[in-house]
Amino acid sequence: MPENTEPVARLDIELDVNGHICDLEVAARWTLADVLRSQLQLTGTHLGCEQGGCGACSVLVDGQTIRSCLTFAWQVDGARITTIEGISDGDDLHELQWAFLRHRAFQCGFCTPGMIMSILGITEPMTMIELRAFISGQVCRCTGYEPIIDAAAEYLGSIGLFHDGDRVATT
């Protein structure tokens, strides 16, 4: 991350987006979501609340799920960004996307990219209780969440990150 002592309203940044190096000139006020959607025309990342509460804008930054509406683009200068567009190649879908199809885990599709990118940020094994708490960070108005939970559990199970551990309620 370059340093500057004089305040600047526009910055030159470099982002690795889905494997493509993008040199961008951005306003300080543009969020990562703004840059992905407007500058880079990657409109798969959606803006639901722009307050960090709905999770529709979730993307991966250096493998970790973040809210792209709550991150200025310059804050992730030099990072590796993965969006929903970057996890499939034509009809060659990601395993999690196949799980969503099998379980009918989307209807209008608005929350779906955020759901998928947040699930792909899971790196530690989860129980069903923990998975449900985790999905609390993503809002869906259509499905009632059950098929999303089923798809996520199936996918996480297939990569060894889901176990039916203790079922004691935490709250």
Partner: protein, 291 residues
Amino acid sequence: MKAGVFSVVRAQSVDAAVDALETHAEAKVIAGGQSLLPLMAMRLAQPPVVVDVAHIEALRRITVNDDGSTTIGASVTQSALEAWDQLPTAQPLVAAVVPHIAHAAIRARGTVGGSLAHADPAAEWPALALTLDATIVAVSASGERRIPAAEFFDGFFTTVLDEAELLVAVELPPVTPQHHFGFFEIARRHGDFAQAGAMAALTTDGSAIAEARVVLFGVRDRPELLDHIAERIVGQRDVEDVATLVAESLADSATYASDTIGSAAFKAHLARNVTIRALTEALTSKGSIDA
């Protein structure tokens, strides 16, 4: 909802950050931005200059000191702290609480220093600092200040930090085998801001409570150290007795203000219940108070 026009100073040292805060009158500090960005997007905050401290190496460290105390740099993200392998042994209450801060994606960016400086009364870190009798370290052009948590929170989203003062670290006292901790918060969704929460740090003399720090948060304009309850439960060891004392002490709903979270009576009800549950966990988490 988009932020207005602003300029940014990307500081790489504490000195550079403090200089920028001195030079630019209405500058705001940004670390993870998880509290500041929503404010800027809603135009509730419109700082002309923002000083980025997220990349200052010295602020990203977690250290266990020789005396067993833990120093957490202000720019340490909640997720980095959560993943720190020494957290469960060095600071078990922090280890229990951090997974309840917001959601994983917010914890990936939000920082410990940011949460303390933002001083949201429903946030976990201000309550943690108060419960653990932490010291907040801040730096300005006048030098370093070490501020006890009990003196740091000054009201609704207000701390005693000066305009051009940078919070650089929080120091947590060492944890001993005589410590028993408890935590309980209630929110509409897992990860939402707490409607009410409580934390308890008890030290025992082997058979009963010797000292207690009991903090209630989310129901007033800052986390509240419940001294009167702490005094009354010294010498107690039984969950039922402690629950009765808490219920008696927090019976007066007239001290709460009705708002969108609920009526004064509802808040008093939550306050009693979360405090009892936090104390119950503290008394039973290690099996018994004698552990």
